[in-house]
Amino acid sequence: MNPNTDYMEIMNSVRSKTFTFFEEIADIFTFIQVIIKETFSRDFEFKEFFYQCFQIGYKTLPLIAITGTIMGLVLTIQSRPVLADFGAVSMLPGMIAVSLIREMGPVITALICAGKIGSGIGAELSSMKVTEQIDAMELSSTNPIRYLVVTRILAATLMLPVLVLYADLLGILGSWAGANIKGDVTFILFFSQAFSHVGFIDFIPAFIKTFLFGAVIGFVGSYKGYHAGKGTASVGEAAHSSVVQASLLIIIVDMIAVQITDMFI
């Protein structure tokens, strides 16, 4: 083995990876720029946008309902013994409501949606790319960014807060069911106790960040799908990387959002 050859190979590999990295960053910024331009263009694709809202919002409701309910139920069952040790079982509804609304609801719902919606967008757009449907659309005088990408990103951005609210409500409902396994508390009492601990400062920042989560899911799925390579393998690759990168970005955005919120509390 020639150490000099090894060194050159490593350097070439590093150079190539660095170049690819910066090339991708440039691609992302160009893509964002085009999306912003097309979002505010005159020929907004309303029909496709409402169709995507239906696909992303309505069709995700059952999954979110199950996840939200189980989230509340499990959180209650797990927290109750600890609170009982401190004689603070009465704090259970408030604690569950605050943790669901502030953090658990938005993040868990966003991660579930990254799996369902992000992979769906990534797979759909990449398969359209591989089968030349995007090219066909461009030749039909339809701007594919405006028709396919802008509508999906906006639909994801607007539907995710709705899905999070739905998950939060069902989470609290699940929590009430969990509380009734080893206790007896009325629905109205549980809800009034839960919401007596929730203020605007809990609700508003959490609600705002759900828009960001939706935008992240829509953008990552669209970017990965639209920039897929040739061949069917790239469809799986686009779907897979959409989920992984959207999930990672959701966690990072959440961390930043929590830090910003903390500065105002």
């Binding site: 759909e124 398969s127 359209m128 090219d135």
Partner: protein, 257 residues
């Protein structure tokens, strides 16, 4: 001068106007030079077949023509307008005059046959009423013999039917120029012949000028008024189909044996 009937027009029809003019077109991907200074003309009413092995640059050429790929240098003039110089709006207008049949058909999976055919007309709502759009869709489907499949999804159709629907979608806008990218790839010989005959029918009925990219010799012979053979990104040979059939050139013979 006596007008040469289109189907017997086996040489360069210099008495007709040029609809597509390509001069010194170059296109590379990285270090790989795919098109090396290609120059060719497509005449009005002509079926020009571009023949070549896989990887010879045929599909890249046709995609450069419609602006789906940007050429590195050269001139691509369609109906007098140089494609690389056009802004997106002007490019859209010129594209409305071109029908492009993709190798894969490129039907929109999430739409029915009807919606696929209506799609190219959606931007012309101010020109066509709903009834006119319906009539155009039915006419185009009737032309390819698939009026019964109107409400089916592409996944419910066979390969040949998908290709026909795709052809119907390209002719629904009454294009002046048709570009066919490997129209018979993946089809059985009988269906391939049917598609080749449909290409001729489209030329007759819609008076189109066409470029047909293929490596299917039967399709080339059935449809071509003139053949250009590409080899390694360069024009290797050009002439009437019978010139290729009787050629003593080893490379040309390898296609026609």
């Amino acid at each position: 001068m006596e007008e040469v009937p289109i189907n017997h027009m086996k040489t360069k029809p210099h008495n007709r106007k040029v609809v597509i003019e390509i001069k010194l077109l170059k296109k590379s991907f990285g270090d790989q030079e795919v098109l090396k200074e290609i120059s060719l003309d497509l005449y009005d009413g002509e079926n020009l077949v571009i023949l070549g092995k896989s990887g010879s640059g045929k599909s890249v050429l046709i995609k450069c023509i419609v602006g789906l790929l940007n050429a590195d240098s050269g001139i691509i003039r369609i109906l007098g307008q140089n494609i690389p110089d056009l802004q997106s709006k002007e490019l859209s207008l010129i594209r409305e005059k071109i029908g492009f049949l993709f190798q894969s058909g490129a039907l929109y999976d999430s739409m029915t046959v009807r919606e696929n055919l209506e799609f190219p007309l959606r931007k012309k709502k101010d020109i066509f009423t709903k009834e006119q759009v319906d009539k155009k869709v039915l006419e185009a489907l009737n032309h390819v013999g698939l009026t019964d499949e109107l409400d089916k999804m592409p996944a419910q159709l066979s390969g040949g039917m998908r290709k026909r629907v795709s052809l119907a979608r390209t002719i629904v806008t009454n294009p002046l120029i048709m570009l066919y990218d490997e129209p018979t790839t993946g089809l059985d010989p009988v269906t391939s012949e049917e598609i080749s005959m449909l290409i001729n029918d489209v030329q007759k009925k819609y008076k189109t000028s066409s470029i047909i990219i293929t490596h299917d010799i039967k399709c080339a012979l059935l449809t071509a008024d003139r053949i250009i053979m590409l080899k390694d990104g360069e024009i290797y040979k050009e002439g009437a189909p019978e010139n290729f059939e009787n050629s003593s050139d080893a490379y040309a013979k390898s296609f026609f044996k």
